[in-house]
Symmetry: D2
Amino acid sequence: MLSLTVTPRFAETDALGHINNTVLPVWFEQGRHSIFSAVHPSMSIDDWPLILAKMSVDFVAQIFFGEEVVIRTGIEKIGNSSMVVKHEAWQRDQLVARGDAIMVYFDYQTNQSATIPPEIRERLAPIMINA
Amino acid sequence: MLSLTVTPRFAETDALGHINNTVLPVWFEQGRHSIFSAVHPSMSIDDWPLILAKMSVDFVAQIFFGEEVVIRTGIEKIGNSSMVVKHEAWQRDQLVARGDAIMVYFDYQTNQSATIPPEIRERLAPIMINA
Amino acid sequence: MLSLTVTPRFAETDALGHINNTVLPVWFEQGRHSIFSAVHPSMSIDDWPLILAKMSVDFVAQIFFGEEVVIRTGIEKIGNSSMVVKHEAWQRDQLVARGDAIMVYFDYQTNQSATIPPEIRERLAPIMINA
Amino acid sequence: MLSLTVTPRFAETDALGHINNTVLPVWFEQGRHSIFSAVHPSMSIDDWPLILAKMSVDFVAQIFFGEEVVIRTGIEKIGNSSMVVKHEAWQRDQLVARGDAIMVYFDYQTNQSATIPPEIRERLAPIMINA
């Protein structure tokens, strides 16, 4: 899985003294930046070809301000037009959250999902879990 | 289900021109404020008795800036120490997203989940779906 | 001044138990939605004619979770191509924050500031402070 | 000045295709983490001794998704109980935003500002601009 280190921000804490639950989807989206650029190397917005269909987060342990968090991201499965992405958040060598995201390859011209072409599958291959 | 109307904020849009996916967990958490106050009427932070264990969001349609969104929230099921909350987001009378949240009643003194007492179940009853 | 009521969100608190300072610019931007629509009634993104040049916030008192906040917004001065906007945040009938924003009327075709035309000045007139 | 590199997040863009203005206060607060730990090495929330009194941001140029931003932070001046912090944001070797923050050393026991003690001034010295 790809690794990304994030520094929890004071603005990301909440009144209970830990990182608020709504921050995890933001960190996990940042974990998908590498998938964005593999699918769409130009990163141009005008022909952006991905839609998020679903996401979920499991909160395993409290996440603290003051210590870095490692976000691990990998693709579990690629179907005809969609893929399942797995995320994990680790702090102090402990798994603190994990999540899934289902992304759909999308053609804004026809306004529907499209078959992921072979050259994109090749670029995604190194991000596959167990690749 | 309880209804809450939110105005999408310009800061909540993203470069694709719609509301960013990470905003839905924030709106849905705001939808749970009513559950927070039913469980914990004092709303005091020092003895806050709830933990979020899991959440998921299904993105059904694009959400636009410039038109209000109605967040509907209800409790599907209450177990011994946890509850399953259902959320929906509606814009222009169309379902645009839906989600689940599993909340655990938690005793910070013993640091473990606790049985939801009868008086809290009574206050939650009107928020039950199909109540 | 125009009034907008916002409900502080749990995700907007921070570890100190109050609303985090970075939330005020978000609320104040929402206060400017009315100015956006007066300047640019179509609200279409493609020909959006406003740029934020500067903003500041004075933090007067702690802002609490659990009680509504009223955001008051008015235009202090309109120049040739820019305007000075004043914001206030009130909670429990107490001023808790105030801020300024300088917005520039901008022509993306020529990529420079442009003279605010008379019909826009007319639509802005009711939002002027002391109007 | 201290340097911190941040990766603009997709969730931080807005419909105009650039980083939303409300993100700068979040990045600048992260720039102040080093000041937080110099003032309050334990970083414990219970006796947190700092309050933000005022902040301002000047938006110099558009900030793009897809390229890193360097946040530079330094203390311009330390008074009896407060300090003036300067921030800059650089992208592609261009200054894209700058800002100020006034922080007050605060005693929550007496609920008022307090004199910054010599040992804290010593730890802050290396963060002074032109130090």
